[in-house]
Symmetry: C2
Subunit: 349 residues, 2 copies
DNA sequence: AAAACTTAGCTAATCGATTAGCTGGGTTCG
DNA sequence: CGAACCCAGCTAATCGATTAGCTAAGTTTT
């Protein structure tokens, strides 16, 4: 492939002149400019971003590190992020930390050696000190997405997780449910913790408590949610409704319900935070609190590009989006549920 | 951030010695090696891949260019590809050509300036000449995924699209359906064309024809499939079964069925190629022919890494995977369908 | 003992861009 | 007319790695 020297030779000018034409960074006479552009075209010249990166210290790469790339929620974040970074002139590198803090560390080390201009991180560990611990240089521009970490000083873009849990729970309580269960995310991450806290707050405000035997963690995974939901629902006095902390786990819970021969919402009402998009033609349609995911992703990219341009964060910015309740047909009033009277030890299958 | 010169100075050796230790590329005495590693640790040194790329001509980046990143099929390809390239020591750049040939061209130009070591491409145009037309250099190592292009000389990894269409159609014909419709992909791409051809072949082998009024293209999009399915199903003599050429379009078709107040499979049977994973808990469960998507992606990455290591394709390799039929509950024998006798002009809603 | 060989570590050229500072010719000012 | 200034285009240093070839000291062979 042609280099800038080849173009310079073909056009009969210096490499500085070719660079000035390509970058429009200095005056070049019309005659010389035309010769350079003709040579660029004839030689099909494309500059090497490695060389440019080495000289300018900019890679034009943004890294997106998600917690679980098998989760359709994060797939949609990838889709939104690719479009957003492309609009700003960047390319997107994708990494999957798969909910493993040690893998996250190795990925972030890789991001540094790739000289990414910035990183959007869904943190899976408790700390991002490895982003900060650069003894002789400034940390890489970073935005935390969806989840936060206590010791971090990066910009953050999140949803109000407490509100997400609370709104879904209130919907179930408004339908008359009093014996609720929940399938949570991992409670050491802010999304898992916050949504449970929101549920607890909603119940507490009505003088209700959430029994610990009705709390299981599905670790934000479909298969884990399936397993814990089965065991929860197989209890003699099962709950009449479940709040599920993610859309992916909601699918696992649905699969457990189906496999136990239960009907939703006939036998069990289910509300969740988020769902899989595009499945409105399938039954039941989940009642859920939803993230404004595209807005969140665009905002994360905007904050990151701003940090890159300013050379790092000036002050920490925490942008919190509000979830919205979307009513489907996966919940019914408690009175409509035969087979398991609220106060009896039922024999549900 | 520390450079190799800083490490060399701290360890009291030359940069060549540091490089030899880091890369284990030449003998270095145990004493010097220990000094270098201590300095690397103390300075938190990470090599610059831009500099390394400039010298070695390798970026350790693989680009994945998909046709529609909003399509969950391609999201799963991203998930599988990220894991596969990471296992080979590469990082994954994601690009979305959004079914636009001109955007594909610009993306591939970008891939060249980023000096990607290779590219996996779901082609959306009719030609990949812009991958080949590098007047003075070898083309970038490329594997075409899912779709092929007539003039290309790259390795390809595909599914047997004809078999995919045929198997799903035969399932419907075996249930007694004779008036079939289809929602196709774009017919200028091999996946759209091949699946329709498979359907036509299955029907022809039973002396049946597919009426042109029952053929609509959903362009592999959920919303387009929704629209064309509605208009197809609103016809007075609607088909008793539909073959839908992608999982994403099948969701759009389901949504149209629901909105028209029809029941699946009570009023209309639906079979597809592929579906969204993880929705087995929702009804109806699609009967479909499935891609072995993870195997296909792993094979594409394996072929690409092999090309990179050999310095380009030696001979063209076309790996064709076979689809498999997975039976759900979205299809019923034709006799069970009240409300629309096969030969009458029905008044279906 | 001298010549030939071996080898650990070093020097410096190179990859392909960018850009600070230089240069020669032209213009303006005193 | 000479000094001072201007400016389009050029030269070459630089970014941070890698590595070919060099060097000096030690070992082996004649």
């Amino acid at each position: 492939m042609a280099t800038i020297k080849d173009v310079a030779r073909a056009a009969g000018v210096s490499t500085a002149t070719v660079s000035a034409v390509i970058n429009d960074s200095a005056y070049v006479s019309a005659e010389l400019r035309a010769r350079v552009l003709a040579a660029v075209r004839d030689l099909n010249y494309a500059p090497s971003l490695a060389a440019r990166n080495l000289k300018r210290g900019r890679s034009q790469l943004i890294a997106l590190v998600v917690a679980d790339l098998a989760n359709p929620f994060f797939s949609r974040v990838v889709w939104a992020a690719e479009a957003a970074v492309a609009a700003w002139g960047y390319s997107l590198l994708i990494f999957n930390s798969d909910e493993k803090p040690e893998l996250e560390r190795r990925i972030l080390a890789r991001v540094r050696t790739l000289s990414c201009d910035g990183v959007i991180l869904v943190p899976v560990g408790d700390s991002t000190e490895h982003l900060q611990n650069d003894p002789d240089g400034k940390p890489i521009p970073t935005v935390l997405f969806g989840r936060t970490v206590a010791d971090d000083r990066s910009d953050t873009v999140t949803i109000d997780n407490i509100s997400a849990g609370r709104q879904a729970t209130e919907y179930l309580l408004d339908l008359g449910h009093t014996r609720l269960g929940t399938i949570t995310g991992p409670l050491h991450v802010t999304t898992g913790r916050g949504r449970l806290d929101g549920m607890l707050a909603a119940m507490r405000s009505r003088g209700l408590t959430l029994e610990s035997r009705y709390i299981r963690s599905g670790e934000f995974r479909e298969d884990a949610a399936y397993s814990v939901a089965r065991s929860l629902l197989e209890q003699p006095a099962r709950p009449t409704a479940l709040y599920v902390a993610s859309g992916l786990m909601a699918l696992g819970v649905m699969r457990a319900v189906a496999d136990l021969g239960l009907r939703c919402p006939g036998d069990i009402s289910i509300a969740s935070t988020d769902t899989i998009p595009g499945i409105g033609g399938l039954r039941p349609r989940l009642t859920r609190t939803e993230h404004p995911l595209v807005d969140m992703t665009n905002e994360a990219v905007r904050l990151l590009v701003d940090q890159i341009r300013r050379g790092g964060p000036v002050e920490r910015r925490n942008v919190v989006f509000q979830p919205s309740l979307v009513v489907g047909d996966s919940c019914a009033p408690v009175v409509m549920q035969p087979g398991t009277p609220p106060s009896s030890s039922g024999s549900g299958q």
